[in-house]
Amino acid sequence: MSRNWLTSAATAAATAMAALLIGLGSVQAADGKLVVGFSQIGSESGWRAAETKTAKAEAQKRGIDLKISDAQQKQENQIKAVRSFVAQGVDAIFIAPVVATGWDAVLKEAKEAKIPVVLLDRQIDTKDQSLYMTAVTSDTVHEGRVAGEWLAKQTGGTCAVVELQGTVGSSPAINRKKGFDEVVAKTPGMKIIRTQSGDFTRAKGKEVMESFIKAEDGGKRICAVYAHNDDMAVGAIQAIREAGLKPGKDILVVSIDGVPDIFKAMAEGEANATVELTPNMAGPAYDVLVAFKKDGKAPPKWIKTESALFTPDTAKAEYERRKDAY
């Protein structure tokens, strides 16, 4: 892989130099601004909308000219967008791929045009790693680990946890479980007493939590609930409350994503921690792109975003900061 990458990086670098020397590039902004084309999946969730907003804001901050194309959940639209970016001769292409496969052909076109490609938020399946420069995504295993470590520390290493999994078989569900399980394995007093799928939704999260509470002696045996996303946690909080228990106190609530509603719950004392899946995927991508354009420095193949943990003490401020971005 590295060999492959070196060659392509070398060619890419050479071309970038050449391009600078000859001064071509039809859309190259007159003032020398970098032009980035971003094929976004769509706006199916608040997080996705926040990702787009942040990408714009971060571009503005750096004086980058960002062109966004909304694919409306269709790969064919993304492929069209990439082709059009190639035809325009942009400096770099960002893709938030809607599916993992079927990218080789269009990425080859971008490679032939010597345009670096950065994947945002999701990886793709390809044999030829040289087709993209780098991928900026969160480390979902690490997210689970951060949540687990916080809970272990908070409870002094003794806690009976119920787990609300994401959709069965989805990769964030698998990985967030894996990271959390690692912590459980090395913490003797911590164990997962029940685990079920809540399909990443509020309604299912609530329903599953209701049954957990009944199955564990009215919730008395539950120390904490770990939810693979905030939405399920919000549902679980309601279930805890309706069972006559105090969420955040009688049962601790820890989850992942960092959507505004969980900050609201934390500010009200009903949730205890969330691990943020940052919507700022574009920021790190711009940074490596600028560095690459400047001195041809090839970034690592995978740039992991930070998995920051937030707790109630900052919740109110964080909620105010986020409520308009989502």
Binding site: S43, E44, S45, G46, A49, Q165, V168, R194, T195, Q196, S197, D199, F200, T201, R202, A203, K204, K206, E207, V208, E210, S211, F212, K214, A215, D231, V234, G235, Q238, E242, A243, G244, D261, Y326
Partner: protein, 356 residues
């Protein structure tokens, strides 16, 4: 509660597979989880796993009530899940915008009626096949709901609206009360009037019914409108329950559960005889199974397989081949005696008689 049931007093015997299956599933739950039947009061509200079954089963039961009548006319309504999302989106968005509860309820239920009217007109007047006609709204409806909420989960603070999902009436959870009320109203509407007869007649033979003077378009539009209303009520409950309209997930795939509940309840997809109460029992069977799986502690990977296996068993109990082994109610005895001549075979649509 005794409800007027269709046909010649079918009694418990005809409904044996449904009640038997419900009892079996509840029993299995009790074996897996001994506290299954224990009920206590929690903040003036009944609390227990059995209550969960009724409470969580309410949305599918509501859908099944409307779906039963649509299926009785030999139709199907795939759009109910999407209509739930629309009704929820309307309710949450309007509440957030500061409208009062009566206006919110009226608008939300009105949206459901409108969706039903759309389906009904496509089926009755344009004569589009129901599965296609309602597929349009199934696909477009969720999009409409996303437009209303701008793709986000719209949360609201409104004790009145929230009470529809998590409040209680005389200690019974509100969704259960609403479902029982709607079941009673629907049963009254179809059995205390001649609507039930006409629905069944249209479902068995639309041509014959029209020839006998039944206003088939009106009957068809009516059942789809009622189905839309039931879906809107279900959507309100789901939205009120989580205090937010999650349009991407609200009612997702619930149309299939509703159809399944109706089929478990013994109403044929070929139309004709229908039983509202049995459809609700079908919904209860499905939910009892879901709750049982959650309580059992099986790995979630087994959920769908367990569910499928139980459903297969229930449907097998109803299969014509197996019912031959069971005692029969009076109306379905095989023909006796010589003066009747040969019966007209089981194949309803076969008409190739050879003239002498």
């Amino acid at each position: 509660m005794t409800l007027p049931l269709p046909g010649p007093a079918p009694g418990l015997l005809r409904a044996l597979p449904q009640y038997g299956a419900l009892a079996a599933v509840l029993l299995a739950n009790w074996l897996l989880f001994p506290d299954f039947f224990s009920i206590r009061l929690q903040d003036g509200r009944l609390f227990g796993s059995l209550i969960d079954v009724l409470n969580r089963g309410a949305p599918v039961a509501l859908l099944a009530i409307g779906m039963t009548m649509v299926i009785a006319t030999r139709g199907i309504d795939l759009s109910v899940g999407a209509v739930m999302a629309i009704a929820g989106a309307v309710a949450a968005t309007m509440t957030q915008a500061g409208w009062g509860l009566p206006a919110v309820l009226a608008a939300s239920l009105g949206a459901g009626l409108l969706c039903g009217l759309w389906n009904g007109l496509l089926v009755a007047l344009l004569r589009i096949q129901p599965i296609i006609a309602t597929l349009i709204l199934m696909v477009a409806g969720r999009g409409v709901a996303q437009l209303i909420t701008e793709g986000q989960i719209v949360t609201f603070v409104s004790p009145g609206l929230a009470a529809i999902g998590s409040g209680s009436f005389l200690t019974v959870p509100m969704p259960v009360v609403i479902t029982a009320a709607l079941l009673a109203v629907t049963a009254l509407l179809v059995r205390a009037t001649a609507l039930g007869l006409m629905i069944e007649a249209v479902g068995v033979n639309r041509l014959s019914s029209a020839g006998a003077g039944v206003n088939t378009p009106v009957v068809l539009v009516a059942v789809y409108v009622w189905c839309g209303l039931c879906a809107a009520v279900a959507g309100l409950i789901v939205t009120a329950d989580i205090r937010g309209a999650d349009v991407n997930n609200a009612g997702l795939w619930l149309e299939l559960d509703a159809i399944l509940a109706v089929v478990i309840g013994g109403t044929s997809l070929l139309g004709g005889r229908f039983g509202l109460l049995l459809s609700v029992v079908g919904a209860a069977i499905i939910q009892a199974m879901n709750t049982g799986i959650l309580l059992s502690g099986f790995k979630p990977e087994f959920n769908l397989i367990v569910k499928a296996a139980v459903l297969l068993a229930v449907l097998l109990l109803q299969s014509p081949a197996l019912t031959l082994l069971l005692p029969r109610p009076k109306g379905a005895r095989p023909p006796l005696g010589p003066p009747l001549g040969p019966p007209l075979g089981p194949a309803k649509r076969e008409s190739g008689s050879v003239k002498p």
